[in-house]
């Protein structure tokens, strides 16, 4: 059964069919959210919001694009909105940090058993550099690199999601990589000082 057929059934009132779409697409939506937020719990919550939002706007899905392209668009927009909102409330976050209510950093990444504590610390520092460097990218470069590296999407699909051309996506990814390299280099120099 194709996605369009499932959507037709959902629109006719068989809402349990939506479970199938959620099961199929939740890993990729989660990866996209993770690429933007770098926090597992936040990515989980945002994935939930994305699917609920998609369900609510399902009657507007015309089938011009595939369901995966459509849900990717929702996921990218929701992630960017969340980032914009959180950057607006940075002042409040700083206040929270001052009063000891800092949000816990998510170190739920798999750590190899034979890794010594020093290496784990270095690994965490590197992780922080990469996340900072990714977060410093402009929105369109960031979207292109997340869809390319986190979701392993071909440039053609990224172009469809971003409503642009393949050439533009290629240029965006190229510039994003150059900016990442530059930012990582400066972060490394700063940490040495």
């Amino acid at each position: 059964m194709t996605d369009s057929e499932i959507i037709q059934q959902i629109l006719q009132g068989d809402r349990n069919r939506y479970r199938k779409l959620v099961e199929q697409y939740q890993p990729m939506v989660f990866r996209t959210c993770m690429g933007f937020l770098h926090h597992k719990d936040d990515a989980d919550d945002l994935t939930q919001d994305v699917f609920i939002q998609a369900y609510q706007t399902l009657p507007a899905f015309k089938g011009d694009a595939t369901f995966s392209t459509w849900i990717y668009r929702i996921a990218v927009n929701a992630s960017l909105n969340k980032i914009r909102k959180s950057s607006k409330s940075q002042f409040l976050q700083r206040l929270e940090t001052v009063f000891g209510g800092e949000k816990s950093k998510d170190y739920s990444f798999p750590i190899p058993d034979n890794e010594n504590p020093e290496n784990i610390l270095i690994l965490n520092e590197h992780r922080e550099w990469v996340q900072k460097a990714l977060n410093s990218l402009p929105e369109n470069q960031r979207t292109a690199i997340v869809l390319s590296k986190y979701d392993d999407l071909p440039q053609k699909e990224i172009a469809e999601i971003m409503n642009t051309t393949e050439g533009a996506v290629e240029a965006l990814i190229h510039r994003a990589k150059a900016n990442l390299r530059e930012k990582l280099s400066s972060l490394k120099k700063k940490s040495k000082k």
Partner: protein, 126 residues
């Protein structure tokens, strides 16, 4: 990457410090991205999403089921009754007016000297 090219790249990385640094930084980034990609969603996420949708649908259905009496008439009647209560209160308040025609004090009373009246102490000393 073909073996020959790979060997050339490795030799160049061994000689060129700048490229080696760049390669190191990008491999760091790739490592972090791969780590994040390995994370899985909460196993109950699908259930959470479906529950959220169900609640949403129930809310929507209950909104449809509410009869017009509850949706429109009830708040309207409530507002009317509050307005009526205020109006009646104002009206009752306005009913009382100090009378200018009745219960006038006799003129003699104004000539009475209260201080000259017998004091209560006079009787308590008995």
């Amino acid at each position: 990457m073909p073996k020959g090219i790979r060997l050339q790249v490795e030799t160049h990385l061994g000689d060129c410090k700048e490229c080696a640094e760049s390669y190191h930084l990008m491999s760091l980034a790739i490592r972090v991205v791969e780590e994040e990609k390995r994370l899985h969603t909460n196993p109950f996420l699908v259930t959470r999403i479906m529950t959220g949708i169900e609640e949403l649908e129930q809310l929507r259905e209950s909104n449809i089921r509410i009869p017009i009496y509850q949706k429109v008439l009830k708040p309207f009647l409530f507002s009317i009754s509050v307005a009526a209560a205020i109006l009646i209160g104002v009206m009752f308040g306005n009913i009382y007016l100090p009378s200018h025609t009745t219960n006038k004090l006799p003129v003699e009373l104004s000539y009475m000297n209260d201080a000259a009246l017998e004091s209560v102490d006079l009787f308590s000393n008995l």
